[in-house]
C-alpha cells in the first residue's frame, strides 16, 4: 500500500458534492426563525418609531396603551442606559432623549396578538421637539451642520477607529503615500470625477425576526435570523451590563443575509421587551415595509476621484475622497469607511496616493454592512475613472488594467507587501471569455452594442483578531459531527465545512454532520458570518479540529496495534496501516476505544477534536498616513466583463453576456463557488439597473417591492460564464480564500463602461435605469428630446 502524498488534496475537497441542506430546503422542512413553534404563551411585539429624522423626545406616555386588553408590557428606553455598537458604541436599545432617523425605536409593546400590539402603538403618546436635520454627508462633515451626537467624544471606540470630537465625523481614515501634488505634472492624462452612489438595501426575502425569552434568574434566550450569534451575545450583554454567558443566541437557517443580519439591529428590542414579561417568549417580526424603513442600509457615498497616468498608461497618482453617509448610528459604517480607506486605490499599484475616507453621521437610516462592504460603492466610480484614463491616452481599457493591476510582491497603498494573486490572469480570462476584441452587430437599427470591464479587490474587513473555533466529535457509527459557530446563510458554508472535515479526517462526505442550529451555549465561538471569511477562517478551525480528532484516533490505534503513528492513516472511514496493511473501521472505536491485548483493559475513549484559528499578524496603521506592515489578512481579486445592448428608443440596457473570473485560492466546492459568482453578478446587475432606497427628507418613499424593484427571473442574463482562478492562499485551508462578496463588486462599473463603449455616453452613478440612460442619451443629443 502506498502512503498518500500529504500535499495531495484529499477527497471530497475540490468536488461538487451536493449541498448538505438541500433536501430540507426543497421540502419545506428547513426551519427559519419565524417557523419555530413557541406555543400559546408566545407574545407579539411591535415597535413605536420616530416619525421625525431628528428631534428631542420630550415625553413618552404609554399608559393608555398598557390599559388596552391583551397588552402585557409597554417598554421604553427607561432603564436601558447601555450602548450598542460593534466598533463605536453610539446607540441605545431604544432612543431615550433624542431620535436620529425616521424609524428610530422609541417604545415597544408586547401583546397577545400582533394586531393588538399594533393597535397599542397608536395609543402611545410621544412628544417631540423637532430639530434641524442632516441629509448630506458632505454637509454633515462641515462645522455648520447641526451636531447629531454631542457625546461622540465619550463613546467607547475600537483602537483603529478615529472619531472627531464635536463634529459629525465618526471616523476619518487617511492614506498618504508618495507625493501626489508633484505627480500630476508628469501625467499624460488626468481624470477627475464626483459620484453620488445612492443608498440601497439588502432585501433578503426573509425579513428580520427575533424571539426573546428571559427566565426567572435573568438568563436571556434569543432566537433569530442572525449572521452573528456570538457578536449579538456579546453586544447585547454589554448593553445590558450582564454576563455574556447569560445570553444564549440560537440561530436557525437565515433566509438571506447579505450583511443586514450581522451585528445587532432589531434583536435587542425583542430582548428588552422580553425582560418586562419574564418567562414568556416575545416575537418581533418586521413587516416588509418596516424592513425597508428601518433595517440596515448600504449607506450612500459621495466619492471624489482624481487620477492620472503617463503616456504608457502607468498610473502615477490617485487622490480620492469618500464621504460615507453613515446614518444615525454607525454599527458598521466606521469600518466600511476604514476598509474603503485602506483599499482606496482599488486593485492598482499606485506610487503616489492620498485617500481620505470620512464616516459622517446623518439623519438617515443606519448604515450596515452589505455584501462588498464599501467596495462596490467605491469601485463604481473608481473603475469608470480608470476606463476614462485608458480612453484619454487611447489605450485598450483591458490593457491599462493589465499594466497597473496589483501583483504579488507589489507594495500597496498602505505599505503592505501584496501576496501572490491571480488578478492579471482573471483579466486575461475574462477578456477571452467575453471575446473582447470582437465586434458584434446590434440586433436592430435602434440598438447599440458594447463591452465593458471592471476589476476589483477586497479584503475581509473585520477586527484584526477575529477568531474562529470548531470541534469535531466522532459518533458510534464512525460518522463525525462538526460543531461550528458560523452561519449557513445560503452561501453553502455547512457543506464546505463538511468537505473540509471529511477530507481532513479521511471519512466519506456522507459521514459528516453539522451540529445545528448554531447555539452560543453549545456551539464553539465564531466572530461573525461576514467579510467572506468563513471558508478561510472557520475552515482553518474545522481543519484543525479534524486533524486533532484524527491524531487522537490514530494514537489509540497505534497503541493498540503497537505501531508507529506515522505508519497509520484514515482512508474512507477506516484506519489503515501502511506498514502491516491492517485495517479497522472507525465504527465503535471512536466512542468505546479499543481493547488491549488479551482484553487487558482499554485504550482511548470518546473522540472530540478541537481547533481554532485567529489571524495574529495584522498590524496597526499610522493614523496620519495609513502606513503599516500588514494592513489586512489578504485580498481576493477578480474581474468581470459584460456585453450590453442599449435600446435607443427606451434607454433600456440588456446584458447579452456576462463573464466573471475570480481568484479564490482554492475552490473547495467549485459548484458553490460558481453559485456565488453567478448570484453575486445578478445581484450586482440588480443594483446596476434597479435599486435605490429613495430618501426624501429622511423618509423612505419606496418602502415596498412595488417601488423598490430588484432583479426578477426576467432580468438575469441568458449567458453567464464563471471562471475560477486558483492562486493558493498561504494560510487558507487547502489554499482557499473567500468569494461571497466579491462577485458583485465590479458589476456596476463593468456595466457603466459597457454602456460607454456602446454609446459614448458616461452614465455616472448607478442605478442605470432605462430612464437615466435615456435622459443621458438625450442630453448627449443621441436621441430626440421632448
Amino acid at each position: 500500500m502506498e502512503k498518500s502524498d500529504s500535499q495531495k488534496i484529499p477527497q471530497p475537497v475540490g468536488e461538487n458534492v451536493q449541498r448538505i441542506d438541500a433536501l430540507e430546503k426543497v421540502t419545506g422542512s428547513a426551519v427559519f426563525g419565524d417557523d419555530i413553534q413557541f406555543g400559546p404563551g408566545l407574545l407579539h411585539a411591535r415597535i413605536k418609531r420616530s416619525p421625525h429624522p431628528h428631534a428631542l423626545i420630550k415625553k413618552i406616555d404609554g399608559s393608555k396603551a398598557l390599559a388596552l386588553p391583551g397588552v402585557k408590557a409597554v417598554v421604553t428606553g427607561e432603564g436601558f442606559d447601555g450602548y450598542l455598537g460593534l466598533y463605536l458604541q453610539d446607540r441605545h436599545i431604544f432612543a431615550t432623549d433624542r431620535v436620529r432617523y425616521v424609524g428610530d425605536p422609541v417604545a415597544g409593546v408586547a401583546a397577545t396578538t400582533e394586531e393588538i400590539a399594533e393597535k397599542a402603538l397608536d395609543l402611545i403618546d410621544v412628544e417631540y421637539e423637532v430639530l434641524p436635520a442632516v441629509f448630506d454627508p458632505e454637509y454633515g462633515a462641515t462645522p455648520e451642520a447641526p451636531l447629531l451626537h454631542p457625546d461622540l467624544k465619550n463613546y467607547a471606540v475600537a483602537n483603529f477607529i478615529f472619531p472627531k470630537a464635536d463634529t459629525n465625523i465618526s471616523n476619518h481614515f487617511r492614506i498618504r503615500k508618495g507625493d501626489t501634488s508633484s505627480a500630476w505634472a508628469q501625467c499624460a492624462a488626468v481624470v477627475e470625477h464626483k459620484y453620488r452612489v445612492p443608498h440601497i438595501q439588502h432585501v433578503p426575502i426573509e425579513t428580520h425576526v427575533a424571539v426573546a425569552r428571559v427566565d426567572d434568574r435573568g438568563k436571556i434566550t434569543l432566537w433569530g435570523s442572525s449572521q452573528s450569534p456570538f457578536a449579538q451575545r456579546n453586544l447585547i450583554a454589554k448593553a445590558l451590563h450582564i454576563s455574556q454567558s447569560d445570553v444564549e443566541v440560537i440561530a436557525p437557517y437565515v433566509g438571506g443575509g447579505f450583511g443586514c443580519k450581522a451585528g445587532v439591529s432589531m434583536e435587542a428590542l425583542a430582548v428588552a421587551i422580553a425582560m418586562k414579561v419574564r418567562g414568556r417568549p416575545v416575537k418581533l417580526l418586521l413587516t416588509r415595509e418596516e424592513e425597508f424603513h428601518t433595517a440596515f442600509v448600504r449607506q450612500g457615498v459621495v466619492a471624489y476621484f482624481k487620477m492620472g497616468c503617463d503616456k504608457d498608461g502607468k498610473i502615477l497618482a490617485m487622490e480620492n475622497r469618500y464621504y460615507w453617509d453613515g446614518g444615525a448610528y454607525t454599527e458598521y459604517g466606521v469600518n466600511i469607511t476604514r476598509a474603503s480607506g485602506y483599499s482606496g486605490t482599488g486593485p492598482y499599484r499606485v506610487p503616489n496616493v492620498s485617500v481620505d475616507s470620512f464616516c459622517v453621521y446623518t439623519n438617515h437610516p443606519v448604515g450596515g454592512p452589505m455584501r462588498g462592504f464599501g467596495m462596490p460603492e467605491m469601485h463604481a466610480g473608481l473603475e469608470q475613472c480608470v476606463d476614462e484614463l485608458a480612453h484619454a491616452i487611447k489605450m485598450d481599457p483591458a490593457e491599462i488594467r493589465l499594466r497597473n493591476c496589483v501583483r504579488g510582491g507589489d507594495i500597496i497603498l498602505t505599505g503592505m507587501k501584496m501576496h501572490p494573486t491571480g488578478l492579471s490572469e482573471c483579466i486575461q480570462k475574462a477578456r477571452e471569455a467575453i471575446h473582447w476584441d470582437e465586434v458584434h452587430p446590434a440586433s436592430g437599427p435602434n440598438k447599440r452594442r458594447g463591452k465593458g470591464m471592471a476589476i476589483m479587490w477586497k479584503a475581509p474587513a473585520m477586527s484584526p483578531n477575529a477568531g474562529s473555533s470548531a470541534w469535531v466529535e466522532m459518533n458510534e457509527d464512525g460518522t463525525a459531527t462538526v460543531g461550528l459557530g458560523g452561519q449557513e446563510i445560503g452561501q453553502g458554508t455547512f457543506t464546505v465545512m463538511a468537505q473540509i472535515a471529511a477530507g481532513t479526517l479521511g471519512i466519506p462526505f456522507e459521514n459528516v454532520r453539522i451540529a445545528r442550529p448554531v447555539d452560543t451555549d453549545y456551539s464553539p465561538y465564531e466572530w461573525q458570518t461576514v467579510a467572506s471569511r468563513l471558508t478561510w477562517s472557520m475552515g482553518n478551525a474545522v481543519m484543525a479540529a479534524a486533524k486533532d480528532a484524527k491524531r487522537q484516533i490514530l494514537e489509540v490505534v497505534a497503541e493498540a496495534w503497537k505501531e508507529n503513528i506515522d505508519d497509520l492513516d484514515i482512508v474512507n472511514g477506516n484506519v489503515i496501516s501502511y506498514k502491516t496493511e491492517e485495517s479497522i473501521s472507525l465504527q465503535d472505536i471512536t466512542i468505546y476505544g479499543m481493547p488491549r491485548e488479551n482484553f487487558n483493559g482499554w485504550i482511548g475513549g470518546p473522540i472530540v477534536g478541537r481547533g481554532k484559528f485567529m489571524p495574529t499578524y495584522v498590524t496597526g496603521l499610522d493614523p496620519e498616513t495609513g502606513q503599516g506592515e500588514r494592513s489586512v489578512v489578504h485580498y481576493t481579486t477578480g474581474a468581470q466583463a459584460v456585453e450590453v445592448e442599449v435600446d435607443l428608443e427606451t434607454g433600456r440596457v440588456e446584458v447579452i453576456k456576462a463573464v466573471a473570473a475570480f481568484d479564490v485560492g482554492k475552490a473547495i466546492n467549485p459548484k458553490l463557488v460558481k453559485a456565488q459568482m453567478e448570484g453575486g453578478l445578478v445581484q450586482g446587475l440588480s443594483t446596476a439597473f434597479f435599486e435605490t432606497l429613495r430618501l426624501k427628507d429622511g423618509v423612505v418613499i419606496n418602502p415596498s417591492f412595488v417601488d423598490y424593484r430588484i432583479a426578477t427571473s426576467s432580468d438575469a442574463p441568458a449567458d453567464i460564464e464563471s471562471i475560477i482562478v486558483e492562486t493558493a492562499q498561504d494560510d487558507g485551508p487547502f489554499g482557499a480564500r473567500g468569494i461571497g462578496e466579491h462577485s458583485l463588486v465590479p458589476t456596476v462599473p463593468a456595466v457603466a463602461n459597457a454602456i460607454y463603449a456602446a454609446t459614448g455616453v458616461r452614465v455616472g452613478a448607478p442605478p442605470f435605469s432605462a430612464e437615466k440612460v435615456f435622459l443621458a442619451l438625450m442630453e448627449a443629443g443621441l436621441v430626440k428630446g421632448v
Binding site: 426543497v26 419565524d34 433578503p204 426573509e206 448570484g679 427571473s713 438575469a716
Partner: protein, 160 residues
Amino acid sequence: MSLHRINLKINGVAEQVDVASNTTLLQMLRDRLALTGTKNGCAAGECGACTVMLNGEPINSCMILAVECEGADLVTIEGLAKDGQLDVVQQAIIDQGGVQCGFCTPGILISARALLNRNPDPTDYEIRDALVGNLCRCTGYVPIIAAVKQAAQMQKQAAQ
C-alpha cells in the same frame, strides 16, 4: 369579527379550521396548521414566497382570505414530494444548484410545478415569465431556470 368554519383539503388531507374574517390563507397555514414551509416575505403579493397551489393554480396565499378557501384543494410545499419521492422540480433544483438560503425555494417549486402542469415543455422565456412573481436574492435565477428545464426533461422521460 365573525368566525367561519371552513373545510378544505390540504395535501390530500381533509382539514376543518375556524378562522376569523381577516385571516389570510398564509396565516392559517403557518399560524394555525404549523405548515411553515410556506413563507411570508412581504404580505403584499409581490415576492411569491407564500405561493401555494389552490385548485391546481399557483396563488399568493397572502392575497386570499382563508374563508375564501372553503372546499378548496390545496397543495403546499409539504405536499410536493409523494411517498418520500421528490417531485422532479425538487430533484432538479438540487441538481442545478438552485437552492441557496432556501427561503424563496418553496414558492419557486410550487410555481415551477404549476408551470409544468399547464405547459410540460416550456421555453426559456416561458419559464422566466412563470417565475417573475418569485423573487430570489441569492441565486441570480440562472440555476433555477435551468432546473425547470431539467425537470421538464425528467418529466418527459418518466412519461415515456
